[in-house]
Amino acid sequence: MRLRLGAPDLRSLADEELMELVDGGDTRAFEVIFDRHAGAGYSLALRMCGRRALAEDIVQEAFLSLWRSGSGYDRARGSVRSWVLSAVHNRAVDALRRAGAKTGRDVSDEGIAERLPARDATEAEVERRDESRRVRGALDELPADQRQVIELAYFGGLSHSQIAEMLDLPPGTVKGRMRLGLTKLRQALGEAEWVAL
């Protein structure tokens, strides 16, 4: 059955329902998916790459992959948001490793601000901001050496051996810090909360 709905109705649909329409080639449904998740994807790409043009390319590639994959997107394996963020992360890591190092950043962390006007914050956006604060808080609570290796690996796209070389540490120590840090984050974030993404 093909739903024929106007834009306002589309925006009331859940991601999974929208993806069924996207499978049928509904570009308006895909536009809603883009509006919901491109911000998170772009923010992640920008943080990782530090270049707006590259971040835009990465996000574009990830969403076009989602559009083409359509039926290949597997609802049982995670949310649309998780899929998009995973696609963005993988592409950003590829780009970082290809470049060898972050150079020529054209944006600083200070430049990445919460720019959404408060009046535009929907309930979902408020929830995401709460989630964001919670995860940032959990990261801040980590010992600095554990947070450092996690951020270098996840956001910096560096391998454990690159991190070990950079910090002049044995690789085993780097891996150990990663494990301790992720274990603490897991405890801090709580079992049922992560899926809120």
Partner: protein, 223 residues
């Protein structure tokens, strides 16, 4: 480095979900977690943490031009017959040894059955894959890959489709897919098959990669 030692494989679980293992280590660890329930559980738990990490990033507004570009590409790329590759990050694809072996096997074991289906305007050719259980249906210069009995995907993995032109390194099509419970799937090959010598499928991490990291599970020659 052995991953059989309990302490080491536990440490690898964290590095693995952070994407911090070297490619060969990651491949070895993937094989390891197929056998090690403890590591599999640890990976699953840590993956939930890494899925939360992007939330720590301060939000930036999406450039309006990016939205326009994406939607313009989407409207120009019909779902049934995708026409264009996305612009964006493309790295010169590496050609891992595993690939060389797979493709060599494909060439040696050319058991290509070309069946002229006939009947349709212009005809449909069905080419049997030389690696894996699949058929490539070619009509009007475009292809659909019908695969059977692919192994079920472990968590965090996806099948990715590639095309190869001549003997050049494979390039990503941007098509990622999983299979039905019986291991089958029907996936369109984006764009024209003109100049394409092979359509291939590898198992990759969720979200896909820009260069293959494992040997192909499907190789279908385009003849």
């Amino acid at each position: 480095m052995s991953v059989e030692n309990g302490r080491e494989c536990g440490e690898n679980a964290a590095a693995y979900v952070l994407g911090a293992l070297e490619p060969s280590e990651a491949e070895a660890f993937r094989r390891h977690i197929e056998e090690c329930a403890a590591c599999r559980d640890e990976v699953a738990a840590f993956e939930q943490v890494t899925e939360a990490l992007p939330a720590s990033t301060l939000r930036s507004e999406v450039p309006r031009d990016l939205r326009r570009r994406v939607m313009r590409e989407v409207r120009a790329t019909p779902k049934t017959a995708p026409a264009k590759s996305p612009r964006g990050v493309r790295r010169p694809a590496r050609f891992p040894l595993a690939w060389a072996g797979g493709v060599a096997a494909a060439v040696v074991a050319v058991i290509v059955a070309i069946v002229l289906a006939g009947g349709g305007s212009g005809g449909t050719r069905v080419v049997q894959a030389s690696v894996g259980n699949a058929q490539l249906r070619i009509a009007g210069g475009r292809g659909d890959l019908v695969v059977h009995h692919l192994p079920s995907l472990p968590a965090g993995r996806i099948y990715e489709m590639w095309v190869q032109r001549g003997n050049a390194a494979p390039t990503p099509t941007g098509t990622l897919f999983s299979t039905r419970a019986n291991g089958s799937a029907n996936v369109g090959v984006p764009g024209s098959l003109h100049g394409v010598s092979r359509v291939m499928v590898t198992q990759e991490r969720a979200g896909g990669t820009l260069a293959p990291t494992s040997a192909p599970v499907i190789v279908a020659p385009v003849t």
